[in-house]
């Protein structure tokens, strides 16, 4: 793998970004952390990430809006939704809009790593599939 997998992490809880950035960097991912949906969407217009991890419930712009922006700009990006309290409706909505997977709060870094790993496998598979 020549390129590092790039990850965007969006959560308005400061500690989430702080801890996960360090943990995921240690696993060899390139990671950018955003504490608001607005900032994340701005960044999405400039850059394509391989994976976006976003909290669903945020104050200004919520995770569904971030997902919409991802699907608009780079539909190949895998989006993982963090749900505070998973409601079936929001989950269905996110799935319908093309979310890759869910992870429910509270979770351990390992739990997220597993989901990210799964996404990474798919990304690699599709890359090798499209450019053998």
């Amino acid at each position: 793998m020549e390129n590092k997998i790039s990850i965007m992490l969006v959560d308005d809880e400061e500690i989430v970004g702080k801890r996960l950035k360090k943990a995921l960097e240690a696993e060899g991912y390139e990671i950018e952390v955003f504490m608001s949906g607005t900032a994340a969407i701005e960044r999405l217009a400039q850059r394509i990430f391989d994976i976006v991890v976003t909290d669903i419930r945020m104050d200004d712009v919520d995770g569904i809006d971030v997902l919409d922006a991802v699907m608009k700009n780079a539909p190949q990006t895998r989006t993982i939704m963090i749900t505070g309290y998973a409601t079936a409706e929001i989950a269905r909505e996110a799935q319908a809009k093309g979310a890759f997977d869910f992870i429910a709060k509270p979770f351990r870094p390992k739990d997220l790593s597993k989901v990210i790993h799964k996404a990474t496998q798919e990304i690699k598979k599709s890359r090798s599939g499209s450019s053998p």
């Binding site: 500690i15 801890r19 104050d59 309290y85 709060k105 509270p106 870094p109």
Partner: protein
């Protein structure tokens, strides 16, 4: 304009989170009262509106019947009198004839028998119609008439027998007297007939007058019965619409059609109340849902932070620098603290700490609360308008809790307003009897209609995370409920919202409250 009556006084009886009284206590008491009201409505003697109407018509009929019978009687009498008048005339004519023959006898010495015959005929007439004569002239004048006539006849006989010189003058005198009596008698009879006809002509007027009086009396009575009852029922429906579900109790001595209406209304109110309870119950379930989801979300954030930090702390312990370890442990403590606060808030909400209730000066509480939040308002350059009249009756409440309610409402208003917005706070004593109202009005964006039903739900908030707990209005409503008051919202999109707090006035007679104000305020806390 959207309006939401989120609380009515009756709702106090619905169980609330943290309420001390259970719904069963209250509903069984309600049922007893309702049953008693229904019994009282049914137990009175029946005197229906229909019976009253029938009675009124019967009265009209009796009046008409009496008038008709009276008329018939009078006409019969007039007829009799007219017939008798002929008899009286005959009587007079007979006597006139008798006198003519008497004169002829005295002047020309003609036959006296004719005179005697006519006088006899007159006497015969009085005997044949003695009762009518008696009725017309009375006993004594009739006796005089009879005796005079008898005397006249005797004198005629005597003169006829040849004792002319001795009796001539007496005969003349008696003849003149008898004739005069006859004339008077006829005149009297004629007058009687006349007055009877006059009376007969007046009967229709008597009838009309009596009819008018009866109509007015019956009209006023029925109007009072029907219109009065309708007005009362209008009051009842207004009261019910205001959410007062107290059953209707009898106000009249007799049971009538309106009692049936009252019974059906009571039944309707019971059904309304039942539906209301069911609705409140389902509302409560939804509120519980919101509450649980809110708590879950609120707690999940610090919990997630703790979980992430603690997991990393455990897994990476060896590779961490000392200051990193410190930071992570601090984060865990801080986030635990945050979780604790959420739980404490929730407990506050559930407990809504016991109130110590006493008569309070509402104006003073509002003024103090305004002072407390004054700085906050000044920072946003909010323009405050107050209308707080003096001389208000004391309200029933707990100083701290009420202050908390007003603070919640004012801070909510401040939060929705842009800079230089406007808040007006006014106390209105006259909106509902027995209550003082406090209106807190902002000219902010207003509340969308779809949110109206939710704003009092716990953890419902429009504020960003960390700024509002979503418990303010919910707690305020709980407090007011406990104090026997309620809260109303009126809002218009783009124009602003008004929250109205209605609090029960302390019901102590003026003199007692003036004399024993001190004693009462300490005794009042026992409630």
């Amino acid at each position: 304009m959207t309006e939401s009556n989120n609380e009515s006084p009756k709702e106090n009886k619905a169980p609330s989170l943290g309420s001390v009284l259970t719904s069963e206590d209250l509903s069984s008491r309600d049922v007893e009262f309702e049953a008693a009201a229904d019994r009282a409505l049914q137990e009175r003697p029946t005197f229906s509106i229909r019976a009253k109407l029938l009675l009124a018509f019967a009265l009209f009929f009796v009046l008409t019947l009496a008038t008709v019978l009276w008329s018939i009687d009078i006409m019969g009498e007039v007829q009799d009198k007219i017939l008798f008048l002929e008899v009286a005339d005959d009587y007079k004519v007979e006597l006139q004839q008798a006198r003519r023959f008497e004169k002829n006898f005295l002047l020309y010495g003609t036959n006296l028998d004719d005179a005697r015959e006519h006088a006899h005929r007159a006497q015969h007439l009085t005997e044949r119609n003695s009762e009518r004569f008696l009725k017309t002239v009375g006993k004594r004048p009739l006796d005089v008439m009879k005796s005079q006539l008898a005397e006249y006849l005797k004198l005629l006989d005597a003169v006829g027998r040849g004792e002319r010189e001795r009796h001539e003058n007496a005969l003349r005198d008696h003849g003149a007297k008898v004739l005069k009596l006859a004339r008077d008698f006829v005149i009297k009879e004629r007058r009687l007939v006349q007055s009877m006809i006059t009376l007969a002509r007046r009967i229709p007027f008597f009838f009309l007058a009596a009819l008018a009086v009866l109509m007015v009396v019956v009209g006023v009575f029925l109007a009072r019965q029907i219109i009065g009852a309708l007005t009362r029922f209008m009051e009842y429906t207004k009261r019910i619409a205001d959410g007062d579900f107290t059953p209707i109790t009898p106000t009249r001595k007799y049971r009538d059609e309106f009692s049936k209406l009252a019974l059906t209304l009571n039944r309707m109110v019971r059904e309304l109340d039942r539906h209301h309870r069911i609705l409140t119950e389902s509302h409560k379930l939804r509120a519980m849902g919101t509450l649980v989801a809110g708590v879950a979300h609120e707690l999940n954030n610090p919990l997630n932070n703790i979980m992430l930090t603690a997991s990393l702390f455990k897994d990476e312990y060896k590779s961490l620098e000392e200051d990193e370890r410190q930071e992570m442990i601090n984060d865990v403590v801080d986030q635990s603290e945050r979780a604790k606060k959420i739980v404490a808030n929730l407990l506050d909400f559930a407990r809504q700490s016991e109130a110590s209730i006493r008569p309070l000066d509402l104006r003073q509480i509002v003024v103090e609360t305004i002072q407390l939040v004054g700085n906050h308002m000044r920072m946003k350059k909010i323009h405050l308008i107050t209308d707080l009249p003096d001389d208000l009756p004391a309200v029933h409440g707990d100083r701290q809790l009420l202050s908390q309610v007003f603070m919640n409402l004012i801070l909510n208003a401040v939060d929705v307003l842009p800079e230089k917005g406007e808040i007006s706070i006014r106390i209105s004593p006259d909106r509902r009897e027995g209550y003082l109202g406090v209106d807190i009005t902002d000219n902010g964006p207003g509340i969308p209609e779809h949110m109206m039903g939710q704003i009092f739900d716990p953890f419902f908030t429009t504020k960003p995370t960390g700024k509002g707990t979503g418990l303010g209005l919910s707690v305020s409503r709980g407090i007011l409920r406990k104090l026997g008051g309620y809260i109303l919202v009126r809002s218009e999109l783009g124009k602003g919202s008004t929250f109205t707090v209605q609090l029960p006035v302390t019901t102590v007679p003026a003199e007692i409250s003036a004399h024993k104000a001190e004693g009462f305020s300490s005794a009042g806390s026992g409630e």
